[in-house]
Structures are given as C-alpha cells and as structure tokens.
Symmetry: C2
C-alpha cells in the first residue's frame, strides 16, 4: 500500500514541460514520488495509508534557498540602512564575537529552519561556523540542506586560529559525508578578499578531494571589484579562474560585479550562481546581470542570504522582487517571466547544488519534498495562472503543509518537530542579552 | 467610560518624533484616540467597555494605500510579463469591456477591501468607473477611502459616451460629499495622453469647485514622455503645469519620468505624489526619483496600483521593495531608512490626501484607524527595532486586528463585515466566465 496520496490540488510539477495538472493527484511511497496523475471524474483514489485533501490548493516541489547563514536570524534587524563594511565591522562582527557559540548557533539555526519550513523552503544551502551544531539542528528539524563550515583568514566563531580553518572545514565535511539522508556537507570560503590565495586553493582542493560543494561569495560590491582589480590586476571572477577554482563543483554567491568576459568564463567552467537580489538591493550592492547568466546557460538558483541582511528567509518575496527588479533594470517587462522564476526557485537551485536528479520538481522517482499552498484567500482569488500567483501573489504564510523526504514537517501551518513557543522564548532571552551588552 | 483600551503592545505612534512606547496602551473613545501612555508596572488600566491585549505585538496606525483600482482584483494574474500597452489593449481593456458592470465592480471592490483590511490597510485612494457601486461596497466593508469616478476620452464601463465623463464624475463627487464618515469623493482623470486638454481642465475645475481631490496618472512610461514631448513640446508634468492643473489639490500618480525641473515645478505647486514602485517595476516602466521628491519636500505616499498589475494590494511588500529598490538604484544603502518608509506608508499617504489632521498616526484627537501586528512568529523574532521589522520583515498575514474609525473590522485575522467564503465563491464563478469567454 502507498504511504501518502495528495489529491484535489493544482499540481505544478516544474518538470521540463512545466506541466500543470488541475485537480491532480500525487502518490508518495517510502519518501519517493511514485505517481502523478489526473484522476478522471468519479474515479476512486487508490488505497493509501494517508489521504490528504489539498482543497484546491497548489501542490508543488519545496523551494530551495540557495544561500543562507542560518544563525544570523538571531541578529535580524539589529542594524540596517548602512553600507556593507560598516554593517559588518561595527555591528555584525562584534555581535558575533560576543554572542556566537555552539549553543547560540544551534538556537539560530533552529529559528531559521522554523521560518523556512513554515514558508515552504525544504532545502537550503548554508555557510557558517560551528557547522556541526547547525547540521544537528537542521536534521532535528527534518529539513534538507547542504551545509558548509566557513573558512576565513580572521578569527571566527569556534575557529580562533585562522590557520586551522581549512582543516576544521575538511573535518566537518568528512564527518557528515553520507551520514544523513537529509544533510550534505560542503566547504564555504568567505570570499576572495578575506581569504588568501593559499587558503582559497587549499579549501577548494579539500572540497574536490571529498567531492563536496565549494561555496564562495564573489563580486558582491563595487569596492570588492576595485580592490581586487588593484591587488590582482583582474576581476574577482578572473582571479578565481586563475586559481583554478571555477568549475562545476563551485557555487558563486552574488556575482553582482561581473562583466561579459567574467560571465563567459563562469559559463565555460560550469560553475553555478546563487542570485540574492534582495540582499544585494538592501545593502546597495548592485543588480547582478541575471538575464545574461540565464542566456549563457549558467545554473542559477535564488538565495535569501542571512536574515541579518534581508531581513527574512522568505523565498516568495524574493521571487516577486527578483522578477520585478530585472524588468525595471532593463525597462523590459518581458525579460523575466513567472515560469522562469518558479523554475529558478526550485529546479534552478537543485541544479546549482548538483541535486537535480533528486529534488527540485515533482517527477516520478524523485524524493518527496512537497508543499501545498492554500489559495482559498482573497489575495489569491481568482487564479487564472498558477505560476503568476506563485511569483506575484503567494506569501510565505500561505503555505499550509510541507513534506520533506516523504515526512510531514508542517501540517496546517504548524511545525511538527519543535515546540515553537519554547524556541521563540529562548530567542527572546538571547536578544535581551544582546541589548543589555551593547 | 472609555470604549476601548489596547494594552501590552509596542506602540509605534508615527507622530512627528516617531515615538515608540514599549508595553504601551492606547485608549479609544467614540472613534477617536483619547490617550496614549505607558502604564507603570503594576498600574491598573482604567475602566473601558472593551480591553484588548495586544500580546506584545506592534500597535500602529493603519496603512494608507494611495493608489488603487479596486475592481481590477478580478483580473489579477490574467496577463503578466508583457509591455504596458499590450497588457492594456490586448487583455485588460477587452476584459473590462466584456465583464465589467455595476455588479462586478461591486464584487471586485469587496474582494480588494477584504484583502486590504486583512493586510492592515485602513484607507485607500481609488480611481475607477461605477464609483457609486465602489463607494457602497467600501462603506459596507467598513473601510475608509477617497474614491474618484474615472474620466477618459474613450468609452468606459458605465460611461459609453466619453463626452459625459466629466459630468458623471462631478455627479458622483457631489453625491458622496459629506454623506459618509468613511468615504470622501474625488475626480480621477486617467492621464494626459488619454484625456484632451478640455477634458483635463473641465475635470480639474469640477474637482476644485467641489473641493475634492483631483487624481491623475502622470509620466508613467518613457513612451508617454516621448509622446507628450512631441505632441506638446514639453514633459507631461510641464504640460499639466501649463494647464493650471498642478496645485495642492492634485495627486500625481507614478511620476516616473520627471526631471529636475519637473520636480521643482511639482514641489512649488504643492501637488502630491503617489509612488507605486512595484507596479512601475513589474510593467518595466522605470524607477521614480523618490529621494528627490522627499528632498524637495513633496508629500509622497505609497500605492500598490490595481492588482492586475502588481499583483496584490500588499503595502508591506511594497514598503520592503521600495526601500530596497531605491538603495540599489543609487547604490547607497543609507538613502531610504526604515523609519522614513513607515512614515510614507502612513503619514505620507495622509498628507497626500490632505487628511493628516485626521489619520496617519496615533495621536490624541485623531480618528482611531489602528492595527495590531502579531510579532510572535519566527520571522519576527527577535525584535530589536520595530521600524526595521515593519519594513523588512512583517507580512500582510501578520496583521491580527484592524480597527477603522473606532470600529473593529478584523479580529484574529477574520473579517467581521462580510462572509468571506461566499465572496470568494462568487469571485471564482466570475473568473470561470472570464476563462470560458476568452
């Protein structure tokens, strides 16, 4: 007997044909999608351990948040409306130095997973410190993730001696390799301007040897471009290319200040891009040339970035803003259509993580990361085109049920794997301490 | 005895000092704000007919949506991702011609009010046809509004003969003058490129004689600027100035393609601006020079525009996008801070409507348009700065209670003045007909 059947929903498969089945059904067995079909009128459903009525809502693959720093939700809104360098040096780095340890990392990671799962994000790709605590928290929450231990040439939370950074990252990546169905490990170098050539190449070699994803912030601000041009005589992307770091196992985050030849080099190398439009907007960094990434055939997904710089982990808002931003940037409303944006937030992220055989769409054989969006609400009525709603009208709070790897983690907008009241209470206690010690 | 006391909330007054009272209280009597204070610990509350526990949430003035076309929610998502002219001529105008009448206008207006009230918008400024039906619907929903009957030199819903447009608009404005505590009437000319000089000046004179607001779309697209420059030898703003239409009783909507001298002329005239960033982005129209409007001292509020072109009536998303858009447009994260954006969505709108003595802030003597935002949620925890949350993290679904003119219209996220299930059912029936007849 099948484990779960979801019926009476508009199935947005995000398969290659972007097939949409009105009043469709999905069968899930042992964590896998077993069947997707449109029952004929009056046709009885097959037997299943659990039958879920989607009540006319949208059934679709879970969203993939391609760039996060999970524990930073603890500092959400601590400092806004200032330049990146001032924000980092005067607010975020000091707050991290004082308040971040293994326990608070665990707390912040839980908080971020709670927000993401309730908002229909079933997979995230993270880079931070104390990655073991993050992995344990994410696994406990029942979420899927690619997690990288951070590498940076400065003292960092849990890594006071930067010369140990690559070794710590390698150890984490090795320990979590194949250990959990939900967690994949990764190595995350902060950036070309905060890591030396040696650090960058050693970290990249470690990632390649373990066959785990290598993540790095790249070309986020004009400052970085200018600094790199004067120090290295080339753009940040060209610098990574010279170091042999651009390849299909590398995820470039931001890629705002890249020119035509950078884009060619990235496309040719097979490297992937995490596009974080809201973070780039809020910090006044710039607009990444996303339409050019897509024409060049680069695998691109969408990231929220840490919630200290956004200030939420809401991929619905991100999709909406992304579509509108590129339209206005090029004064061309046709340049970014709703279907492409839905693809980017699902299959795009899966491709960028090298996990498109596993997740990113509702197709038979894939793991069952499935969300159900409640459209029985004024802002989603009427519905002429589901993709339009998903980009321009659905909000995170409209997600009703969330399944990861065949297991429900959110039912009727409630988290199943954590006592949310207790979690929020602990976060408020943490924040009082931040305020007291400023 | 006082009618209502709201306590145990963070009161964001949006008064001139942007005073915030932690654990504050607000007393409301006969629709007016009677008192705002911070009770000492253990101090008992005064007696009141109704005591409302804000449960740690944010208590603030209702939001003001400065530009809407209420019935167009019926066409939400019908057509996206195409140029303005194609969108209007091939989709929206034909759909209006076939499906819009007094009854469907009423239906769409109710749908839009439902969405806005649930999302914490207590006042809107609208321009459409069959304005009488809209006024009746808005009043029934218990919402505050400034409503303009549309004037355009083409056959329009309910006004097949354009030569009657000004007279119909004047009649509506006169009939609804002083008739309701919640509704103010207005006259809405569609634009300088769809109305002749005679239509514009007659409509403006009618508005001035009745002392009601004159609204007009202005300088939305580059096309309009070019067309006007070649037809009139000047910019759209300069053209209105020449016709004597720019003054303190005129609300200019969009004002995207305005230059330094246009801005000077607008500021000097006392005309107001409705800034609609998401609509301008989605249609690829451009970015209005909002920071320059503010430096010039122009009264500016925020509008969503009709939900066929946005695609929602969500002023929280609009605030978030607005702040981020102008930061990235100028590559300056300091140019639009959270406090200024909250002011724009409340007092800015009130000033633009000439209603700042009445609404737009929580101050003693003003009408009680009050909303309570539930912050007991992962995406709003912790809270260091309320204004930051209001712009960068709060979503429409986080609004818990809404009061207009001293009367509750939303309690615990439920509308009190309409059967929402029945409304949504009627809208779906309407949409099936739209799909059937395409």
């Amino acid at each position: 007997m099948t484990d779960t059947i979801i019926y009476n929903g508009t199935i947005v498969t995000v398969d290659p044909a972007f097939r949409v089945l009105r009043s469709g059904a999905v069968a899930i067995d042992r964590g896998r999608i077993q069947r997707i079909w449109q029952p004929r009128e009056g046709e009885p459903l097959p037997e299943a351990r659990e039958i879920v009525d989607a009540r006319g809502g949208i059934v679709m693959p879970g969203l993939i948040n391609l760039h996060t720093h999970l524990p930073m939700s603890l500092f959400r809104g601590l400092a806004d409306d200032m330049p990146l360098e001032q924000w980092l040096n005067e607010h975020i780095f000091p707050a991290e130095a004082t308040h971040i340890d293994e326990e608070t990392v665990r707390l912040g990671a839980r908080l971020s997973c709670a927000e993401m799962l309730l908002g229909g994000i079933t997979t995230c790709c993270d880079g931070y410190f104390h990655a073991t605590a993050i992995a344990e928290a994410v696994e406990q929450m029942g979420m899927r993730a690619v997690l990288g231990q951070g590498v940076i040439d400065y003292p960092a939370p849990g890594v006071p001696d930067p010369s140990k950074g690559v070794a710590v990252a390698r150890d984490f990546a090795r320990q979590w390799q194949g250990r959990s169905d939900l967690i994949r490990s990764s190595i995350f170098c902060h950036s070309p301007y905060t890591c030396s050539e040696t650090t960058l190449t050693h970290a990249k070699r470690a990632a390649d040897e373990l066959d785990v994803l290598f993540q790095i912030h790249l070309a986020e601000t004009r400052n970085e471009l200018e600094q790199m041009s004067s120090a290295q005589g080339c753009s940040p992307a060209a610098y990574l290319h010279r170091l042999g770091i651009l390849d299909a196992n590398t995820l470039l985050v931001h890629a705002v200040w890249v020119d035509v030849s950078d884009i060619e080099q990235i496309a040719g190398s097979g490297a992937r891009i995490a596009h974080c439009p809201e973070s780039n907007m809020k910090l006044g960094s710039g607009v990444a040339p996303l339409p050019d990434f897509l024409s060049a055939g680069i695998a691109v997904g969408i990231g929220t970035d840490g919630s200290a710089s956004n200030n939420d982990l809401d991929l619905w808002g991100e999709m909406d803003t992304l579509a509108k931003l590129h339209k206005v940037q090029r004064l061309d409303p046709t340049i970014m259509d709703a279907t492409s944006v839905v693809r980017m937030a699902t299959m795009g992220g899966a491709k960028a993580l090298g996990m498109d055989g596993l997740i990113g769409s509702l197709e038979v054989g894939k793991r069952a990361d499935v969300i159900i969006v409640d459209i029985d609400q004024p802002q989603l009525t009427p519905m002429y085109h589901p993709a339009s709603h998903l980009v321009y009208a659905v909000r995170a709070g409209d997600v009703r049920h969330v399944m990861v790897d065949g297991a429900w983690v959110v039912r009727d907008r409630r988290l199943l794997n954590i006592d949310l009241d207790d979690l929020l209470h602990r976060v408020r206690v943490f924040a009082r301490e931040v305020i007291r010690r400023r």
